[in-house]
């Protein structure tokens, strides 16, 4: 990942002042890397140097899901100043939607062999499928729900919050309370989502075995594709008139309001869009990881996403994605070497980035470049004098 970012840095940081200006080359690179990994996994034997292990494929898929989640947070935080500490809630809800579909696909291959009820329901002595589990055996319907439910939640929450002009830290803590409440709710067995254990033991998706290499590669490719689409779409949105209003709202909301914009409407729709992206990420995450449980709702997960964005540089789209990739790669390496050190490192990252890198790595490169340019111009000015 570091190689990738260093490769790109020359291209990327030239135009970091324009939001999302550098999405296209990144998407190109993303597609190339995905192709490389897929071919490496499927076409080469394990002894070949081009071979990419299935573990790496899954890891890559996971990182890309996280990157998409970071993108969702960046859209609301970086472009609109809404610091959401509850985006993992939308991620997890999307994941549960996918999880419910995968659960229904198990059919009678579960431990209890019940053709209709998932194992945990048999275990809880439930007699029939709850109404909200109906229809989830249909992939299309399940995916619609996986996106619609988080979207609706974001709409209701956003409408309530933005209409009464809840902003700043208030809003942040409210979003945190939202994910906290959902976590408590999903931990309850009576909710019918598997309680503490969540949903797991998935067998196949759309008829393809989840354990097979081909499925894994296909999932990675889908994730990369969805990330590219959301990146390009987000760039288009931010360049549009809608995006300009959003940035105006971030900078001075009251002035935009006085100019006649219904700022709360802009914010609500942006929030919904962001929640749906998070939900897509969650829905793609679950089949690759193989489990979804209420732990995904814990407030710390949401806050971790914020730090990815902060490190990469908010309000840049690519910065959030690179931040997520970087931090998660570091996390994988560090937790393997010193499990204890990770929380220290994460905590220190929070403090250091907010203190010294308010604009993230993107901003750092940008300001370094500006300094270089200004010192050059000042020296030329001196020569002239």
């Amino acid at each position: 990942m570091t190689i990738m970012s260093s490769l790109l840095s020359n291209q990327l940081f030239k135009r970091s002042g324009e939001p999302g200006a550098v999405v296209a080359p990144f998407v190109g690179l993303l597609i190339i890397v995905t192709l490389f990994a897929s071919v490496g996994n499927l076409a080469f034997s394990e002894t070949s140097i081009f071979y990419v292990s299935t573990y790496t494929i899954t890891l890559l898929g996971k990182y890309l899901c996280y990157a998409m989640l970071a993108l969702a947070v960046d859209i609301v935080w970086g472009y609109c100043g809404i610091l959401s500490l509850g985006h993992a809630a939308f991620f997890a809800l999307g994941g549960y939607g996918m999880g419910m579909y995968l659960m229904r696909q198990i059919g009678d291959r579960g431990v209890y062999g019940n053709p209709l009820l998932p194992d945990f329901m048999v275990f809880l002595n439930w007699q029939e499928l709850p109404w909200y589990w109906q229809g989830f055996d249909n992939f299309g319907f399940a995916m619609l729900m996986a996106l619609a439910v988080p979207g609706l939640l974001a709409f209701v929450f956003g409408w309530l919050a933005f209409r009464s002009r809840v902003t700043g830290v208030y809003l942040s803590i409210m979003t945190q309370a939202l994910t906290y409440a959902l976590m408590l709710a999903f931990f309850r067995n009576e909710m019918g989502f598997g309680g503490n254990n969540g949903l797991t033991d998935f067998k196949d998706i759309l008829g393809f075995n989840l354990q097979s290499d081909t499925t894994r590669v296909a999932l990675l490719a889908t994730t990369a594709f969805m990330l590219s689409v959301t990146l390009l779409l987000s760039q288009a949105i931010m360049k549009s008139r809608f995006g300009k209003v959003i940035i105006a709202v971030r900078d001075t909301e009251s002035r935009s309001r006085f100019l006649g914009y219904r700022t709360e409407r802009y914010k609500v729709w942006l929030f919904v869009y962001s929640a749906v992206i998070a939900a897509i990420a969650g829905a793609l995450y679950v089949p690759q990881i193989g489990i979804i449980n209420p732990g995904e709702f814990t407030p710390i997960n949401s806050i971790e996403v914020v730090i990815w964005v902060a490190i990469g540089g908010r309000g840049t789209l690519i910065g959030a994605v690179l931040g997520a990739l970087l931090v998660n790669y570091a996390k994988t390496r560090l937790t393997a070497i010193f499990p204890e050190a990770w929380l220290f490192a994460l905590g220190a990252l929070f403090v250091l980035v907010t203190l010294f890198l308010p604009k993230g790595l993107f901003g750092l490169f940008g300001s370094l470049k500006n300094k270089l340019v200004s010192s050059k111009t000042s020296s030329t000015a001196e020569e002239v004098a």
Binding site: V169, S172, I173, Q176, L178, A185, F187, F344
Partner: protein
Amino acid sequence: MFRHAMNIRIIKTLSALLLALSISWVQADTFADLSAELTTVKLSKTKAVLEQLTETKDPRLLVMFEAMVEGNLYYQESTSELLVTESIKGVDQYRRLSSGELIDLSKDETAKVKVNNALRIYLRAEIARIQLTSEDADERKEAVEALYKKMDKSTVATVAELRASETDAGVRSAMDILMAMDMAKNGVDLSQRIEAVQFLTSSLEPPVRNLLIELADQVEEPKLAIEAGVALNVIEGKISFFNKVDTIFFGLSLGSVLLLASIGLAITFGVMGVINMAHGEMIMLGAYTTYVVQLLMPNYIDASIWVAIPAAFLVSGLMGVLIERSVIQFLHGRPLETLLATFGISLILQQLVRTVFSPLNRQVDTPSWMSGSIELNPVLFVTLNRFYIFIFALTVFAALVLILNKTSLGLNVRAVSQNRNMAKAMGIKTAKVDAMTFGLGSGIAGIAGVALSQLTNVGPNLGQGYIIDSFMVVVFGGVGNLFGTLVAAFTLGIANKVFEPITGAVLASILVLVFIILFIQKRPKGLFPQKGRAAE
């Protein structure tokens, strides 16, 4: 204790003095002789020996009689010494009645002291009498109350006899209830029984309720059944009232915890407009300080709490000042960044505690004066630790109000919270005030940790759960308003406990969260918003 009981009689009759002295002088001999006789005497004559034994008024009689009723009284065949069997860790062991020490004997060397039903009735009455004549009024009352569940004719007769000479009002009323129960159950005259049933409405004891249920269900005396039903309704009404009081008490207790956890946050948030996400960890540090103080003074657990309170205030307060000076002051005017940075600090502190103290929960001992509970009546108990924490929370709150309203620090804090720039212009050193405010808020969080350590286990995640709740309290009450925080904490505490039996604990806290989210819609500035220019 039996000698003490005798003393009461000494006061009554002077002549008894000599008698009592002579008894206690010869006691040792006669008790041993009589117990030896018990092992040989025929079953038909046993009662006479027991009566003689009773006369000795030996303190060991209670143990002996209880063992005999239960069939646990044995004797060593070789020496005729009385033994009591007792199951220690599942193994039956013999204990000398005379000295109470354990003795290693096999089953073949011992034989059981024989007992029959007639003797058991006599023994039960005597046991009751021994307990009922105890010196301590509480013990006497307990003995009477124990009889509610197993009354029989002879014990009731004993109680009726002792009722005449009883001096303690509490014991007397307990005895009255016992006698009324007996009358209601076994009385002959219907009107007397009805009267007894009516009298029983004054008691909340479960056995009384059971008796009334029994009487209400019987069909021989329809009138009595109706009366019992009425009495039962009265009692049920009282019980449900006291249960409500109990719920409110638990709500107040939860509210006092919330108050302690949130006033520190109310100060820092109110004055500086930043959410200190490490606030929960300040609480945790306070709890760990209590743990460390107890480790340092293991022999003075009762006093340790008085050391722990100032120590926790200092530890958390200094940590607060450190955080403010090293991080927060550089993030001034950027509340969201402050939130993130303090979150990072909270992660570091949690991991630090995990590394230093291990991730496992630590047990903090409760001082003896804080453990136990006061029984206000048979349905209503007040657990002492919760009661003291309630008082403590109010004290801390009062102290804080005094600091803010009566000291120059308080004046400065209020000035900065109302208008930072104006305060600066008037020569207040806002940087210093910020540090002091942060220290004060964090120190109070530390004190909250001391209180919490008495209620829950102390672990690295202790504080994490409180940050959201505390913030809810502050927002609900209105930022920058301490009385709002007080009202909000108790309202939320009681609301939580009222919902709990209906919906379950988890759903109750979810409902409260949803309620606050909706509440913010209507009153974004909380219950008691700041007025005037201070409000933006």
